[in-house]
């Protein structure tokens, strides 16, 4: 109970918000808009899982938005050339993993701070894409949107895929030795090295995983619309970092659970539709999301202070 307190309090807050919506804005629960919301957030959830793992390993990757954009455009171009989706998907994942490997190589290999490395790659990748594409949209051929299924079926596939991925990673973090290594390295890299673990290998691996998930998420996003616009993914890094922090992942590493991240993401995602249904000005959205993040950070600070005093 005590170990999950942070996650439970996020879940409780989310439950309160959902109850309030049920009482004051039952329209929120109409199936079609709700499914659309879930579908929009599905790729974000996939990236948030990767980001949570990166942060647990005491790193950060702020270039995910740029990676996501590049993978989106590249996947779109491949699809436009007639590649089938089963070939586009692994290509996009591989491209993301490659970009992750660049980040991981610089951070783990040269021991550079990840915030600086990924800031540099974020800007470089984004500007590189702008230079090459000049902001051009990619029109997708028929049969790509919703995998060629009906919209409802396509949406269901995406949401279920994201949830399955979340469950798989949550399980792996808890029951696979590699998951333990991520926590150990995030808590104390030098102690991990003394114990025979390979902190640099773990660091490299989490960045590669992050990139691969960005590539996967790009395709999950791509199939939702008839065209790819190159600005897609801008600001994604802030969204997923916020979800991780609100969900109880310690920014100092070593602590966090994916189901907390899931709750954190849902909480932040509910703000916008809740405002619409409660007929509050949409300008409040960012302010309220910011307040939620601030509250989570303050809660962590208070908890750490009380732990130190005790």
């Amino acid at each position: 109970m005590k170990a999950h307190f942070r996650e439970l309090s996020v879940a409780a807050t989310l439950a309160l918000v959902l109850l309030a919506l049920a009482a004051f804005a039952p329209a929120f629960y109409e199936p079609q808009p709700l499914l659309s919301l879930a579908t929009r957030e599905a790729p974000v959830l996939v990236v948030a899982c990767g980001m949570a793992i990166v942060i647990i390993a005491r790193q950060i990757d702020i270039s995910v938005g740029s990676q996501f954009s590049i993978c989106s455009v590249a996947a779109g171009l491949l699809a436009a050339r007639g590649w089938p989706l089963p070939a586009v998907l692994p290509a996009s994942i591989a491209l993301g993993a490659l970009m992750g490997a660049v980040n991981g190589g610089l951070v783990a290999g040269l021991g550079l701070p990840s915030i600086v490395v990924t800031l540099a790659t974020m800007v470089t990748l984004r500007q590189g894409l702008n230079l090459v594409r000049q902001g051009e949209f990619v029109n997708l051929p028929d049969g790509v949107q919703w995998f060629g299924l009906s919209q409802g079926a396509g949406q269901a596939v995406l949401v279920l895929a994201a949830l399955a991925l979340l469950a798989a990673f949550a399980f792996a973090l808890r029951h696979v030795a590699a998951g333990r290594h991520v926590y150990a390295v995030g808590t104390d890299a030098e102690a991990s090295r003394l114990a025979g673990l390979r902190p640099r290998g773990v660091t490299f691996a989490v960045f590669v995983l992050m990139g691969a998930l960005a590539g996967l998420a790009a395709v999950m996003n791509l199939v939702q619309s008839p065209q790819v616009q190159p600005l897609t993914g801008a600001g994604l890094e802030l969204k997923v970092i916020a979800a991780a922090v609100v969900g109880g992942v310690a920014i100092s590493g070593g602590r966090g659970k994916l189901w907390g991240v899931f709750a954190g993401l849902l909480l932040l995602a509910c703000v916008s539709p809740a405002l619409t249904h409660l007929k509050v000005e949409a300008y409040w959205e960012k302010a309220i999301q910011g307040a939620i993040i601030l509250l989570a950070v303050v809660a962590d600070g208070v908890r750490q202070r009380s732990e130190r005093a005790g």
Partner: protein, 501 residues
């Protein structure tokens, strides 16, 4: 102030943390011009009591009087104003600032932030403070560039300015013999000038050499104050642990077997290790003595693959091996219990059980799946076997006392079933009870055929525990002495011909 008014008088001090009573009504009295030793096992309440005096903790009850005048609960600021200074085990200095800046900051921390910095005056005061502690250190040197013992002297210089009551918490933990002698001179000079010194140390011989009176704490209560002249070592130990400790050092049994570790001209100039050759046999305890900075830890790090060797060979059970990383060392059966357990020996935030299994993932979690039941069983086995006092295997290691943390660190390495076990200062900062338990564990491992390398700056420990004693100086193994050698013989080898001690 009358001559017989105590400088510091603590009466019935109580303090609880989350319902656990750390201090249950402690009385303590410090007179001007005395060195008063404070003794007790880890967890007996020494640190808490010190923190009450320095204002870091607010007591729940009791009275504090300084020079006969009752003062309320102290704060760090009011304690400093009353002339209470504390020298901690680990120097609390700013590594990127110069010595003079550090001294200035600590002595004038509460001065106005906007006062003009008088560089000449600052330098003069720094020189005076350093002179008082007899340190020949350039006040303009960056603290980062100083050796650990030099930093300790700077720490002392920072604290002494204007202090009437000086608390020293294990000040010799990182000092060599020469600096230790210097520290003793400082303490005696303080006593002459009428300062009261509270001296905390686990090394009983220091207490007999230095202190006038000694107060023993046990389980958060004082179990008596004695004049040092009226009590002996056995009596003190009995007071501390509440029972007779039979023998401080268990005797060696059996004779060493075949060579397990053969080191031939192993060198790593990058890490300051010059060609070193020695052999450790199965069941042998090979002590490594030397001054701080003689290269003992560096040698251990080379053997463990943390800084891979650049030349020379290592044979394990007759086979030549290359060790390029800790993972390879562990796979070959070499284990290294590092020096600073609080930093890297145990991970304080992680549960005891995860700490225990940290070095055996490959074996315990073969195939990559975590086997939590197996993990818990392994941890529980070691908790029983080593007598680790913990709320349970799932308790964070940080909740354990220092001695028990050290046992967890040991358990992690015993779990690897090592052929060669390198122990780096295994009993530093550990209380007497846990210390003798660790000694018994070392003996038992030797009996089971493990080749043990024991690095220790505690000379009596190295002398009593080792079958042979290697002495290092300047990154070289300068002598290998038989077990039972005398302390002067080891010290002479450690200092060498040009020794200045």
């Amino acid at each position: 102030m009358a001559a017989d008014t105590p400088l510091l008088q603590l009466t019935r001090i109580t303090k609880s943390f989350a319902g656990v009573r750390a201090l249950r009504g402690v009385d303590f009295e410090l007179r001007a011009g005395e060195v008063h030793a404070l003794l007790g096992e880890n967890g007996a309440g020494k640190s808490t009591l010190i923190k009450v005096v320095t204002g870091a903790h607010r007591p729940d009850g009791g009275e504090i009087a300084v020079a006969g005048r009752a003062v309320g609960p102290l704060t760090p600021k009011s304690a400093r104003r009353l002339g209470i200074g504390c020298i901690y085990q680990q120097p609390a200095l700013f590594p990127d600032l110069t010595v003079a800046e550090n001294i200035d900051l600590r002595q004038f921390a509460s001065a106005a932030a906007w006062r003009r910095v008088d560089w000449t005056d600052r330098r003069r005061r720094a020189i005076a403070a350093l002179e008082f502690v007899g340190a020949r250190i350039d006040p303009a040197a960056e603290v980062r560039s100083l050796s650990m013992p030099e930093q300790q002297l700077v720490e002392i210089a920072c604290t002494l300015g204007g202090a009437r009551i000086v608390i020293m918490d294990e000040p010799t933990a990182s000092l060599t013999h020469r600096e230790q002698a210097q520290l003793f001179r400082i303490v005696r000079a303080l006593r002459e000038s009428g300062v009261g010194v509270v001296y905390i140390s686990h090394r009983l011989e220091e207490i007999f050499a230095l202190a006038d009176r000694v107060t023993v704490l046990r389980d958060g209560a004082s179990v008596g104050t004695h004049a040092v002249a009226d009590i002996d070592e056995a009596g003190l130990i009995k007071l501390m642990v509440g029972r007779e400790v039979q023998q401080l050092y268990p005797p060696a049994e059996g004779s060493p077997g075949k060579p397990v570790l053969e080191v031939d001209r192993l060198a790593c100039p990058r890490a300051g290790v010059r060609p070193v050759s020695f052999t450790v046999r199965a069941g042998e305890v090979f002590g490594l003595a030397g001054l701080v900075g003689a290269g003992r830890t560096e040698l251990a790090r080379v053997l463990f693959g943390l800084t891979p060797a650049e030349a020379g060979t290592v044979r394990l059970d007759g086979l030549e091996v290359r060790i390029g990383s800790p993972a390879e060392a562990i796979a070959r059966g070499i284990a290294y219990v590092p020096e600073d357990r609080r930093r890297h020996g145990v991970v304080l935030e992680m549960p005891v059980e995860e700490n225990v299994t940290m070095a055996v993932h490959r074996r315990l979690f073969a195939g990559g799946w975590l086997r939590r039941t197996a993990e818990r069983a392994l941890a529980e086995g070691f908790i029983r076997e080593l007598g680790v006092k913990t709320a349970g295997p799932a308790a964070p290691a940080g909740t354990l006392s220092g001695g028990n943390q050290q046992k967890v660190s040991l358990a992690r390495w015993l779990a690897t079933k090592p052929r060669v076990l390198i122990l780096d200062e295994p009993t530093q900062g550990v209380d007497v009870g846990a210390k003798s338990e660790i000694h018994r564990i070392i003996r038992r491992l030797a009996r089971e055929g493990v080749a043990v390398i024991l690095i220790s700056s505690d000379l009596p420990e190295v002398l009593a525990m080792s079958d042979r004693i290697g002495v290092m100086r300047g990154g070289e193994l300068t002598a290998v002495l038989p077990g039972g050698s005398s302390a002067p013989a080891v010290m002479a080898a450690a200092l060498g011909q040009e020794g200045r001690g």
